[in-house]
Symmetry: C2
Subunit: 578 residues, 2 copies
């Protein structure tokens, strides 16, 4: 018997491989506007020739309305359809290949190898959320069956699950042009949750954003979803902040994801909460990521700890949200050894490229403030004026490569205690080493730390007592506590919390990375005595065997899939539809 011919693979979509400079509103290219801007190449300091045109108020309106219309369709698409759509996004981004990496390299000054690995992370995040959707437990379903015979009152049937909030506006980060930008964590988790997404493009990497946006829009079309599920709006020139504010104020936008500066995040949070109908703004902002070096760890591993820290501080020019900014230790030979290791590594570093003039200017301002604090010395790195003299304002300087030098500052506990500026984030390759005289000072220092994404400690076996004390304090101040490792490198997994108390974020009950990130775009809804046909598929009695949920107080695991059930997702999609 002749084998049936394998159907020809569908031809890949014609992806845009060079930016047009235009926004993408519900699948349609925007128009040129008066608000033209250009990106800057950090490696040369020169403008990149491609002109970009900022979205107008009409684009914001059109994208928001289209997202709202699309929401009523998209939120009812079976989980498997959304999963396949996310995988299609991933596939299309991969298909952009070196074209995407080249544009991103030029726009950000980040090394191509770093960008390739970031692209892979972006793609894996999309796939992760596809798997989260297929597994299904994320909706946190709870079903309590009714009991008409209960006295004194009959017991109603009550079923609860997470449901999507509506269209989400995403403000990507400059430091993760792929993994935390157009198709980054916020976009992937919001689309997974069944929320349409409108991305406010970052003016530092508009071409990177636009190419990725076309990859997503192509996936929307391939998946036969309403075009309003995704829009991308360029923001720059006179419209750089206006596009974002208009989005946060728009009645059709129901939640906001932001990654960036505390000033920007808090301004958007205020906009969100002063609407007539307040909406949540999830802002990830600044973080000092303190590191504590405990005595026993320093006794045996001081040099290696110092090397790891130096690499962590200077990785991607320190432009990581989890970059260590404060290091604490108790005066000892070990601490000297660690300090020397950090300094030596920094001393050998050539000046590094930063993402933008604005970030460099802020870095120089912050390092100057730190250097000026009483009792603070420069202990390592290259603080010589040669690297700093290009000016401190991003508006006046031009044509210089955008570079900075790594710096290790050093101070003692008393000076630290009296200089509030040392508690603030310094975004870039700099850290302050605080030398304490004893364990009490170390614990007191920990209790002064602002809310942070991470807190780390290097602890040897004999450090157990002080480590326990420190942990009790750090648990109140950080989202993730790292032992014997550096905070940079955020594993994407169910156990991850990338969040933390203010000012690291304004919503410490959530995470921006990992499985649980999907929850922020949702709220729970209860359905009481609802007819099965009106329930979301996940709560229907006939679908109960498919996903794990809590039924009458007992957790029920899904039935083991049969061979039949292992067929492609379209089958399970159809099943869920019934």
């Amino acid at each position: 018997m002749a084998k049936p011919a394998t159907p020809a693979a569908p031809s890949p979509p014609a992806l845009r491989r060079a930016p047009a400079g235009l926004s993408l509103v519900a699948g349609a290219m925007g128009k040129r506007t008066a608000d033209e801007f250009r990106a800057v190449s950090p490696n040369s300091g020169e403008d990149i020739p491609t002109p970009y045109f900022a979205a107008g108020a009409a684009d914001v309106e059109a994208a928001s309305r289209a997202a709202w219309e699309a929401f009523f369709d998209y939120r009812n698409r079976p989980a498997a359809v959304r999963a396949a759509f996310l995988e299609k996004c991933a596939e299309n981004i991969v298909a952009l290949g070196d074209d995407l990496i080249a544009v991103a390299t030029t726009e950000t000054g980040l090394a191509p190898a770093r960008l390739v690995s970031e692209r892979d992370r972006t793609v894996n995040q999309l796939k992760l959320f596809a798997s989260v959707l297929r597994e299904g437990s994320w909706v946190n379903a709870a079903i309590d069956h009714g009991d008409a015979n209960r006295r004194p009152l009959p017991k109603p049937d009550v079923r609860r699950m997470l449901r999507p909030l509506g269209p989400v506006a995403v403000f990507g980060a400059s430091n993760f042009p792929l993994a935390y930008s157009t198709a980054g964590g916020d976009t992937a988790s919001a689309l997974a949750a069944a929320c349409p997404v409108i991305v406010k493009g970052h003016p530092s990497h508009p071409g990177t954003g636009e190419l990725v946006a076309h990859a997503i829009a192509a996936a929307v079309a391939q998946s036969k979803l309403p075009a309003g599920v995704f829009s991308f709006l360029h923001a720059g020139a006179q419209r750089e902040t206006a596009v974002g504010i208009e989005l946060v104020r728009h009645p059709c936008v129901r939640a906001v994801g932001f990654t960036g500066s505390p000033a920007g995040g808090m301004a958007l949070a205020r906009e969100g909460s002063s609407r007539p109908d307040p909406i949540p703004v999830f802002a990830e902002m600044g973080s000092v990521n303190p590191v504590f070096l405990l005595p026993n760890a320093l006794e045996s591993q001081a040099a290696s700890i110092g090397e790891k820290l130096a690499a962590s501080i200077t990785n991607s020019s320190g432009q990581m949200c989890t970059c260590p900014g404060l290091i604490f230790g108790i005066r000892s030979d070990g601490l000297e050894t660690a300090t020397r290791a950090i300094s030596e590594q920094m001393n050998q570093l050539a000046p590094q490229t930063m993402l933008s003039r604005r970030i460099r200017a802020t870095f120089i301002k912050r390092t100057s403030e730190i250097a000026a604090a009483p009792g603070v010395q420069v202990r390592g790195g290259s603080p010589e004026p040669g690297h700093r003299a290009q000016g401190t304002s991003h508006q006046t300087e031009t044509k210089f490569p955008i570079r900075c030098s790594a710096t290790l500052f050093r101070t003692n506990f008393e000076s630290f205690k009296n200089s509030p500026t040392l508690l603030e984030e310094c975004f870039g390759p700099a850290a302050v080493l605080v030398v304490c005289e004893n364990e009490d000072q170390l614990i007191t220092a920990a209790s002064m730390i602002q809310g942070s994404l991470t807190a780390s400690m290097f602890a040897g076996a004999a450090d157990a007592a002080i480590a326990g004390q420190l942990l009790a304090t750090l648990e109140l101040r950080a989202g993730r506590i790292v032992f014997n490792g550096v905070p940079t490198g955020v594993e994407v997994c169910a156990g991850m919390v990338h969040g933390g108390p203010f000012p690291a974020t304004n919503q410490p009950h959530t995470t921006a990375v990992g499985h649980h990130a999907i929850e922020r775009w949702c709220r729970p809804i209860s359905y009481q005595n609802a007819p099965s046909t009106l329930l979301p598929p996940e709560l229907r009695e006939e679908n109960l065997p498919q996903v794990r949920r809590r039924v009458d107080g007992v957790w029920i695991e899904p039935a083991k899939p049969t061979k039949d059930a292992e067929k492609p997702d379209t089958a399970s999609a159809a099943k869920l539809k019934k």
Copy 2:
């Protein structure tokens, strides 16, 4: 062989059975202060003789500091210890017997039978959270084991769970003097989460609050917990709002639970978010609880629907947060029948007692505003001046029983659309029936509703299409959607959501009732490569078989308890301690 003698039951604590008028600060009675106030008996309108003394700033300070100190101990107590403590609270409240019901009846004017059932709910909520703690899955643990051999980077061991925020200030509700007050849902869930609690006493039922506070404080002592785990502060006279504001501003207070008016809730939310270290304020505020009567349902059950609605609107003088305030239907004989049924039931009602002069004054103000809206008529109830003429200010009137009459207003869709006042809550036994001409008007009306705790629809089999359309809109506007039933009566279960979009609450991702309420007092924390001894017990490898959690992406159920494991909780507590 002689059976061993059953050990004598420990003698019950000497519970205070009459209020002393004093605050309870970390187990110690407060002092008399200059800010003396009295509660009012709603049934007589007379002051109740017992003098109460509002807490001073020093009491707020002492209670907050003690809570902070206690937190570091309490949060490390095994779940089974906290569970036993909650059960002890329940037991002590039951032991107050009729003394508690008598005080509450006098202070609130609520019927003793209602208060007994509310007391039972309060006690059951405490027991529920004890069972939630024993079952253990609420911490939402996720464990991802590390892999040193992963390339390009080793995979860290990352473990996450919910951890308590710290001391919680609870502002109880006037309308639930037991189930949503001193030992109510917020207190029970916060104590369960391992957060110490400071209750700001409600000035309308200070004696009720104080007796319950002593029952909890006795349980704290019996459970050998630090006294700072619970404090109760009287607030009245010149200190009525100051006590609360000082609590929300105190650095040791880490979260706030509030149930009351939108003005009060939003004021506290602003206080919470304008701190240098913002804290979450969970405010449950006003809700209109719309009810939609669909054509087919009205054809066969109009009279019975009307009777159910009348009972729901007038239950406890309409002083329920889920009391129906807006009723929508399409002009029909059935709608007339339902209207008549509501009106007739209201017409037969004698004037009802309200909780306080302030609530009555607001009710009269709101019903006057509604009555004055163009196109609104009084359709049922007793709107004659006799019941309203006692004055409208809670400051000037005295010595009259605090009573009001139930009212059914009626208007049409056009008038509804043009009168924003009809969208606002009217707290008390009144509802507005909006007569629509067709399904389009009904759906448009639904889309105008403010965020609400509940939305209900009565739907017959032939109403499926319109019910589906309506549901799509109501899912964006309510926390719980009720089919063929009234919204009053909130089942305490895992499937319950008692929450909803603004202005019903300011934090729609949470619930104030049911298992999931415990989550609001927590945030997730990740521990990366942590030594087992420093991990919370729930995340330690050796305890993995005890509670369900997600391990390396797979949900793991606890091992079936052996006979040995079924022994009393002290055993499992000890086991967890290791």
